[in-house]
């Protein structure tokens, strides 16, 4: 009953979305003004309907209603409740519902905020309704999660065990908040094109949405990496897999957009470029949502998926991009660009934009080229991780240089003396860093030295920026530092944290990849495993049954130079329902290094017992803590800016 209720609500939501989208066609534009007032109640109605539908689906999953196909295919009565609920969006249909649910919440959010520009917001809401209508139609016609099955199944087929993890319970909502958030930015861009003007005020209205979407996408990518690190058992966190790359694309273009939009806000520059980036970023987000599921790309995450939805997706994405680009081409001349100097903050932002978009482009080619080849019937290929690593390094290095220096630069133009004053301390820090690295490790690679030096350059730039902002706080001589610190401009804090995060992330990536140690060995009864300074001995081994899986586990006592550091119990899990075996990693983390232990089947050395032989794979990776910290800081920076701007917008008179 509740399921039918949800299904009905979704159909009604489609009606409401269509009605909102077609509103302006109803009467001539001049009369539309009055109809525009409907936008808030319509957005509210849509949100209520979609929330009802989504809640109904969650209910069906939580109560294991095996008359629903979606629940049968992805759930099981023995599964822990958390994964029953998160299993709702752990599959194609459910994740589409999550997408549309988030979109409706954003729509409500937009209509709730007191708009600086009523007309623009309402046009944006109309665009959003059109996007929403297409998406709900996609769900209803090709991926309906409310389909019943008769007779009901005895039990479910369980969720893919790899997805039964806390990281993947929160990863999709975060990722989709990012993807969908760029839908809002896109809607505002199309609204501006529709009206044919773009002002610095537009940039001010849109910036919070860019920031929110960008921060959540950062968190989403971070959580996805964290999941891959703990769950896939390869000791790495980023594999340049198509699914990962596809989430990186909107992040790159959005980072470009974030900065270009600042130049638009402060200087009225790059208007055409900003609009194009807004369209591109949402296109990439749609690709991220769809490309994996349309069966176009195979990857370790996507395995095999359905081809039949491909056409609908192609049509939908084609319509979204086609219409917006057509509008862009027609209104292109409405937007002018102003002259500027390359040696200025806007110049630095331009370089940053070129680098980010070029990097996105090189990644995109590597995603699409294999697809293209398979379309023309050529042998299937994949692009090796080495390509991405080689490409990533120079881009990341240029980015570090500009990100370190540009917050210190003024708009308009840079006096030479000032440039020298800014660069000198950064350069000094970079050189000292190289000296320290070589002092600590005489055999350090050139790459390691340069990459760390550039991270230090960026860190120094960020710190200098903070100091300058701090000095600029107006104060009397009696004010204490603490009192002054309290008045530190929040507007500057966003940039500080985000840039700090990128510097920390880059240095952590460098250190973790340069100094990762890997070791494999079979376990032999009663014999300790020795690897460099580490000694592993089995203290305990057992077999047991938990929830919906069987476990084989062994507890290892790990000592480092004779000192006990941890007891780790990695597991091998067998999920009988899906007939799948997974490996549960055990990790001992501290500030400086992760000890990462995986159980696996060793290459049999003995013909007599080939199947039951167990071995371990051990990774000792430095810098992982700082890697996750980097992700967190970047998202935090975006979050601070978002909240600050929202609070400020609330105070502004419309």
């Amino acid at each position: 009953m509740i399921v039918e209720f949800g299904h009905g609500a979704l159909i009604l939501a489609l009606m409401v979305a269509l009605f909102s989208a077609l509103l302006p066609l109803w009467k001539s534009i001049s009369h539309v003004k009055r109809l525009f007032r409907l936008s808030f109640p319509l957005a509210l109605l849509q949100t209520i309907l979609i929330t009802t539908a989504f809640a109904a689906l969650i209910y069906a999953h939580a109560t294991s209603d095996f008359t629903v196909v979606n629940v049968v295919l992805n759930s099981h009565t023995d599964k822990p409740l958390l994964y029953k609920i998160s299993g709702t969006w752990g599959n194609h249909e459910g994740s589409m519902m999550l997408w549309i649910f988030i979109l409706s919440l954003y729509g409500l959010f937009v209509s709730l905020t007191r708009p600086l520009d009523q007309d623009l917001s309402e046009r944006a809401l109309i665009v959003l309704s059109a996007v929403s209508a297409g998406f709900i139609a996609f769900i209803l016609f090709t991926s309906n999660p409310f389909t019943r099955v008769y007779p009901p199944a005895q039990n479910g087929e369980d969720l893919n065990p790899l997805l039964q993890d806390i990281g993947l319970s929160i990863h999709p909502p975060m990722l989709y908040m990012g993807y969908v958030g760029f839908g809002i930015v896109f809607a505002f861009a199309v609204a501006a094109l529709w009206r044919g003007d773009l002002t610095p005020q537009w940039a001010r209205i849109v910036q919070p949405w860019i920031l929110l979407a960008w921060s959540t996408l950062t968190l989403g990518i971070g959580l996805g990496s964290w999941w891959a690190y703990r769950e896939l058992g390869w000791g790495g966190w980023w594999f340049w897999d198509p699914v990962e790359n596809v989430s990186l694309l909107p992040w790159l273009t959005a980072t470009a957009l974030l900065h270009a939009n600042l130049a638009l806000e402060k200087r009225g520059l790059f208007s055409r470029w900003v609009l194009l980036l807004a369209i591109l970023t949402f296109t990439m987000s749609l690709m991220g949502t769809f490309i994996v599921r349309s069966g176009l790309i195979t990857s370790v995450h996507a395995f095999a998926s359905d081809q039949t939805r491909g056409l609908f997706i192609l049509g939908y994405v084609g319509a979204v991009i086609g219409i917006s680009l057509l509008l862009y081409a027609r209104k292109y001349n409405n937007f002018c660009s102003m002259p500027y100097r390359i040696s200025s903050k806007e110049g630095a932002i331009l370089i940053n934009n070129i680098v980010l978009v070029s990097f996105a482009f090189t990644v995109l080619i590597a995603i699409l080229y294999p697809v293209f080849l398979s379309l023309i019937g050529a042998p299937s290929i994949s692009v090796g991780a080495a390509y991405f690593n080689t490409i990533f390094v120079p881009f990341a290095m240029i980015l570090s240089v500009t990100a370190g220096i540009s917050p210190l630069l003024p708009w308009h133009r840079i006096p030479l003396a000032m440039l020298q004053r800014s660069i000198a301390p950064l350069l000094a820090t970079a050189l000292i860093t190289i000296a320290i690295v070589l002092l600590l490790d005489r055999h350090a690679l050139l790459f390691t030295c340069v990459a760390l030096a550039l991270s230090a350059w960026m860190l120094a730039g960020t710190v200098m920026h903070a100091i300058r902002r701090f000095r600029a706080i107006p104060s009397t001589s009696s004010d204490s530092y603490v009192k002054k610190l309290r008045r530190f401009p929040i507007a500057a804090m966003g940039t500080l944290f985000a840039h700090l995060g990128v510097a920390v992330l880059f240095s952590a990536i460098t250190i973790s990849s340069a100094y990762k140690q890997r070791f494999e060995a079979p376990i032999t009864q009663g014999k300790a495993i020795v690897f460099n300074d580490y000694t592993l001995s089995v203290t305990h081994a057992e077999k047991l049954h938990r929830y919906n899986y069987d476990v084989r586990t062994a507890t290892f006592l790990i000592t480092h130079s004779g000192e006990k550091i941890a007891e780790l119990s990695p597991e091998m899990r067998y999920y009988p329902i899906r007939q799948m075996q997974t490996s549960e990693v055990a990790i001992d983390s501290n500030l400086w290094r992760d000890v990462y232990l995986v159980l696996g089947e060793a290459t049999p050395t003995d013909e007599s017992a080939p199947a039951t032989h167990i071995g371990i794979r051990l990774y000792v990776t430095p810098g992982m803590f700082f890697l996750w910290l980097g992700f967190g800081l970047i998202a935090l920076g975006g979050g601070i800016s978002f909240i600050h701007r929202m609070a400020k917008a609330g105070k502004d008179k419309p």
Partner: protein, 161 residues
């Protein structure tokens, strides 16, 4: 220099930088393309063109029953087959938990001078849901497809996030 000349120099230098970087990118790209083969495709390709040694490629097929041999100290060797041709593979290291004779396997490895492959990574997959689509296709084409999992209704296929 007059502003017009200045702009020209700027544009030309920008274009040449772009051309150089695109060329470098394409060279790196070409070097890192990893082709996927089934054993018969690989043999055919080796007859048509000469492969440089140490070329990295992916090979997919079944572990030929009875071919698994143990080498000291802890390496193994086996044959990968697609029913029409076999390729020798040697490997050292941990095996995926589902690695068995007769099971589907995908591996990443280097082509040696003797036309065998030294694998650096092995993935064993047991049904279509958890197997790269290209391997499933190759196995189906050669008639070696086995279903041992549940068959999903064709209209609904579980996806992944």
């Amino acid at each position: 220099m007059r502003p017009k000349h200045k702009r020209l120099v700027f544009v030309i230098s920008l274009l040449s930088i772009m051309a150089i970087s695109v060329t470098i990118m394409l060279i790196i790209f070409r070097q890192n393309l990893i082709y996927f083969y089934t054993p018969s495709m690989l043999l055919e390709a080796m007859q048509k063109a000469t492969f440089e040694n140490n070329r990295v490629l992916r090979l997919g097929g079944l572990v030929e029953p009875g071919s698994l041999a143990h080498q000291s100290p802890d390496g193994i060797a086996f044959l990968v087959t697609d029913g029409k041709a076999q390729i020798h593979v040697q490997y050292r290291g941990l095996l995926p938990t589902l690695f068995r004779e007769g099971q589907g396997v995908v591996l990443l490895g280097k082509l040696e001078a003797d036309k065998s492959i030294t694998a650096s990574e092995i993935l064993a997959k047991h049904d279509e849901t958890y197997m790269p689509a290209e391997v499933a296709r190759a196995l189906k084409a050669s008639g070696h497809w086995k279903t041992d999992g549940q068959n999903y209704p064709s209209s609904v296929t579980p996806g992944q996030p």
